[in-house]
Chain length 306, copies 2
């Protein structure tokens, strides 16, 4: 058997992503020992019941002692607290990472507090479901999904290699890019879609002329796909928008501009322009299916043909 | 064996919906004989190869002769042509219906041309996939989905019963409402979601700073769900927006207003307001799953746990 990549892994925060990491790290034998830290006693107790780690700590500082790899799996708004809690307990040479959907802010919050001699390399697995909590995780979550690693120019190559190897070991495709680029790319591929989904579900709920019952009943016409995204964890997403404000507002501005153009085309009956856009968007869908980032099965008819 | 509901069914237009209807009508033994009409010889030939009907006609007029139930399954912008093509060939007492995603415009386009003695009752199955054409259809498409029937105040009760029975026989739940109400309800549950999806995919494609490759790669963060909807048939959707202009512009106006409020909350860092919206939208998702209009399985991690 190949030796494990890391001896001791500590995951701080045992939600969907944290609990998927510990399950995958164990399933694929990437580490020898796993410690979970969570400041919520109920979550920690649930993780213990599930038996997905070796040690369970309420205190993050205690949990990271002697760890070779520490991954903060908490909402982006809570990473500075994590850095403060662990900074005096980290082993020299330990790798510290995270899984936040925003990277620039995580760097600004964590880096100043972490001691020299510790390798801080932020990361973000572009994977998830609409569920949260310790029960929501599963070992296959990262399979064939992209995980983005954001090293600094002076990051230690060996530490970077090991972290990349860890994500690859969980089945992810890994791409490295700067934190700044990450935040722009994710603003359009993830943050704006969530914002739009939350917004349309809110708009629908507030319409006086259409009841919630009608909206739910007839949701198979397209609306239900938005509600799935809009069921994602509220704390996590509040933090994403607050911490990636500039990039989100930039792509949102573009979206608004385009939407007004579309609104005008509808008002003036410019069918050709609508048709051209609707044809162009099909090609992008085809690319995503070709790249294996979504299934080609006709998913609108979910209860029908598979 | 129970007698078939209708002796002769004619379906005009053999795309996703038309070909699903003929498959379902045969599978559930709702009719004795099926005629398909399509003005596209390639589509008609493909339907013949699939062997899903008894007769195949290029000419809609010829196809409806002697039919007891005629269903126009063409884009909303083409129903007037269908009415003109069939009006002199319909049997007295025949039921004429459609499946368009807009109902007011269909009534305005078809009703003036149809002869007295024919029962015209528009309908709309709220079901579909992102695929189109004769091959895309399947008999189970309408199972446990809602089909909306829009009778007039003076519609013949027996004819209405038979049409409702036909949809119920294909496994659909049937709800009756006015064409006007239909167009408002669908504007929010279907038309606006499609418009938003087309728009965001267009915005993403036009960003200079992010490549199409990056957008596709990292689409699992939310974007890919929009691309699925934005891969729907361009002709059908162009017609929907042109023919349900007023209701679409009304709900789009509300959406824009709400989106500007959200934009402002992000700009000013109003986390509590964001959190409240994101919590509220979860409840609607729960309702949709409870009503059986979507699966509860964690679908973001599509290749993972089922």
């Amino acid at each position: 058997m190949a030796p494990a990549l890391f001896r001791k892994l500590t995951v701080i925060g045992i939600g969907l992503i944290g609990s998927s990491i510990v399950r995958a790290a164990r399933a694929y034998e990437l580490v020898e020992e796993i410690t979970i830290a969570d400041r919520d006693p109920a979550h920690l107790e649930r993780a213990r019941e599930l038996g997905i780690a070796d040690r369970y700590c309420l205190d993050a500082g205690e949990a990271v002692e002697d760890a070779d790899l520490v991954i903060a799996c908490v909402p982006v708004g809570a990473v500075e607290q994590v850095a403060l809690a662990i900074k005096d307990h980290l082993k020299p040479g330990a790798i510290v990472s995270d899984v936040g959907s925003v990277k620039g802010s995580v760097v600004r919050q964590m880096q100043p507090h972490l001691p020299a001699g510790v390798h801080f390399i932020p990361a973000h697995p572009v994977a998830g479901t609409e569920y949260s909590g310790p029960d929501a995780g599963f070992a296959e979550l990262f399979q064939n999904r992209w995980s983005i690693v954001c090293p600094f120019e002076d990051s230690d190559p060996a530490a970077l290699d090991r972290l990349v190897g860890f994500w690859a070991g969980m089945g992810a495709n890994v791409e490295c890019m700067s934190a700044e680029r990450h935040d722009l790319v994710l603003a359009i591929t993830s943050h704006l879609p969530h914002l739009i989904a939350y917004n349309i579900v809110g708009t629908a709920a507030d319409l006086e002329k259409v009841t919630e019952g009608e909206i739910m009943k007839f949701s198979a016409g397209g609306f239900r796909d938005f509600t799935r995204i809009a069921a994602s964890d509220p704390t996590m997403w509040r933090d994403v928008f607050l911490h990636n404000k500039d990039a989100v507002l930039e792509v949102l501005g573009r979206f608004q501009e385009d939407l007004f153009a579309l609104q005008r085309q509808i008002r003036w009956g410019e069918g050709d322009k609508l048709f051209n856009l609707f044809t162009r968007t099909r090609a992008i869908r085809k690319g995503i299916v070709t790249m294996g980032q979504d299934a080609a099965a006709p998913d609108f008819g979910r209860s029908g043909k598979k």
